[in-house]
Symmetry: D2
Subunit: 268 residues, 4 copies
């Protein structure tokens, strides 16, 4: 049977497309980070550019690049599997190079990270969840960049209400997002980004808090009132100090006195 | 040209289906409530039952029932248009009766309601948004029921932390949901459900708060500490007192000291 | 320091609450299913009832029940860890019994499942993602029930349009949901529910399809046109045949000719 | 009583913030477009910059700018109210100028638009919903820009599968997004962006389709097979021809043969 490769035809409208590919593909990923194997069920997005004279890309080859990068890891000794989500992204791009011509490529991997923490007073172990996303971008000149993103749940304690109410104030959950875009080689762990954000709130949050821990968190919050603007500035200043590359910070505070949210955002 | 009515065929698998129809259909609705015309852009779901010996329903007739109910309203004098979302739902069912045989029918309409409130100290006008949903259900015996649902943004102030920290505590946004299922005739306004929920939090929330108002809210919150359990109980007790029918209450508190939420739910 | 147990006080409003607890808590879970260890990052909800004369529950004990059930599994030999999400749920309830008085309890665990499939023509391995949720409910009489839910992505191919257009028709993605509520002991795997749903669409969907596979799927779809009603009936009939317990089926078709969806739903 | 203006203090960390404000605020908006009054319930985001030496902004003044812009419209004759969402955005910025010092400001308004269309064969009236978003940005030099975004539900019909299966193929819902960023003065209606996107799919979609209309849509789809890449190129080429400014196009196709989506994106 003859197979038509419609994708290889010349399209009616000759426009180059920067990003063509697959998205919202959920599959399994295993990472060996500092000697321990972690399993994730991330969402993947993989795109390449499409030149003006080709009608389409071969989508299944992008899926194969993910699958092949995974299988390679599974066939190798566990010690040799990808040591970070970025490494997995780079490996998918490497497989893509053997499968589909392109000038630029992007791999995005979105998942959750669970990190153990000690509760502030009891020292009990608490497992804290974070949303993370990693992008690996191969530019037209062949250079590789990476984008690291974290999303951390914390809080804000209003210093204005505190000043005007004899120490009483309103408090609420806030969400801090930090993105670092940098060269691929730079050695930055997602955990470091999480630390920068988590320590910039009025107080960190914990999954497991006994009464003594809850008291420590409450005391910590009142000792450290912060506007959403203060949280954004602290994340931004510390990220610039600690990481090379372009920084983007966004903090959203789910106000307990309003039905809407307040936001502070900045970037370098 | 002959048109085949595949829907009228006898299906291979003879099972009665309770709910078949259209969902996530967004369109415009106009309601004349107490003499003022309100415009909404709600999401509609309309379903009927399907007997075991018919392959399918005629979906387009459900869409027409919505459109016809609307047109009727637009053609009539503005004073005569539907006086509530429930009335609109009943009118859609009435149109359905002339268009498609069925034994039971449901219409669900989901939208936002904006209600003016006075800020607590300055008296400034504040426009408060609420999520509401109305269902009208025609049972097999022809009787009509209605389901009214509201979702209100408020707050909780932890009395346990307050007792253990000399008046300091953690505070957070909370979401209260109230559902009343009752006969169609009962005269209950969505605004009444909203009032019951909004007044059961530690303090109501407002869109516009000048500093004097913010102070009033903060003072109100500290004077009225409540667990998520307390809020659920107050909504439930007041709803039972005020409304005939089956009551369902759910309150979710977006804890400011945790990354997860806490929940209290009950029903009659 | 004295610790006040505000939760133990008698509340102003004496109403029993059916479900009080924690929700949207994301953490790690490891399951040994048929000898292979799977890692998940599920969302947990754990609730207990609250009698009318207690002001609140001790939320942290619910978190501890999850953590303890996990640690127990980690400390034991890998072969001994929970053999299903339901077993993990039961284990959490068992830990709860030693920590917090209650009459009824519920544990809900929501995650993704990745299952390998062979592509229909090439035989290539494809990893297919499914949304699953498991609930374990301890009733007031101590009896245990479980609720299994799956959500599968498939498709519908309109037989009405096919009959009226000489074999041409409209096709679209559809989502099939199946819930089985039964006694805890019944031996039902989530994979069985997934099979029932996946095989009831016009054709199963696959993550990796080479051209020969894509052709097989297209041919399969045209050979098997189905309304959303047909898919719901097939899932329902086969689930009733295969599983004891109460069955609930819901299929949503993301119509390619409309901006809204169509739905078919039924239950036993 | 003395009121402390904590916002005016000098912050510990002196970093300029580009965007500080309120978000997810739902309220009512009325627009007089070409002589007819439309009512919306949009979500608003309003932000200003914050210089390095001020601790915070006065959030309530941003809310007042929205409220004042509304009231002004309500107090004036209906003919004089804002003639577009962009005009409303500009009016909010104008009110902001009298209330809060700033160097740059942004207003974003997100809502649904319902547009009447004729069904393709029966000529029946169909009301089609679209998601739209409008941004008005005042730059540091005082210049005004606007950003118009639309999101339209359509479809793709795979030409590759059609070539390889004797005219049979897979079809699915697709979502087209178009953004135009341009000077404020340019005269572009959201309806024009919607037209460009809607007419670039294999066929437009309709809310109300009788059998003759459904047939016309099916025939239209098979006569016009398109990859997601083809749809993106057509939107892009036509938008560049029709609108001055920077263009961004993104099309997502909810594949009926896969559980994931495919995507094509480009920009000028």
């Amino acid at each position: 049977m003859q197979i038509f490769e419609t994708q290889e035809e010349v399209p009616e409208i000759r426009e180059q497309l920067h990003r063509v590919g697959i998205t919202n593909l959920r599959t399994i990923a295993r990472i060996n980070w500092k000697g321990r194997v972690y399993t994730f069920l991330p969402l993947f997005e993989v795109t390449i550019d499409l030149p003006a004279d080709k009608k389409g890309i071969h989508m299944s080859r992008l899926v194969e690049s993910i699958t092949d990068a995974m299988s390679e890891a599974i066939e190798e000794e566990v010690q040799n599997i990808h040591t970070s989500l970025e490494e997995l992204g780079r490996c998918i791009i490497k497989h893509l190079e053997g499968k589909h011509p392109h000038n630029r490529a992007e791999v995005w991997i979105k998942t959750h990270l669970i990190i153990p923490r000690e509760a502030p007073a009891s020292g009990r172990m608490s497992y804290e969840p974070y949303d993370v996303e990693v992008g690996v971008i191969k530019n037209e000149d062949g250079s590789l960049e990476k984008v690291l993103r974290v999303r951390v749940v914390g809080n804000t304690v209003c210093p204005h209400a505190m000043a005007n109410n004899n120490g009483k104030t309103h408090i609420q959950r806030a969400i801090g997002e930090l993105e670092v875009r940098t060269t691929f080689e730079g050695d930055i762990a997602l955990e470091e980004l999480i630390d920068v954000v988590e320590s910039s709130f009025s107080n960190p949050t914990y999954t497991l808090l006994k009464t003594v821990d809850e008291n420590a968190v409450v005391q910590g919050m009142f000792a450290n009132p912060k506007f959403v603007e203060d949280v954004a500035r602290e994340i931004f200043a510390r990220a610039k100090e600690r990481f090379k590359g372009r920084i983007h910070v966004k903090v959203i505070s789910n106000e307990s006195i309003h039905k809407h949210d307040v936001i502070a955002e900045t970037w370098s």
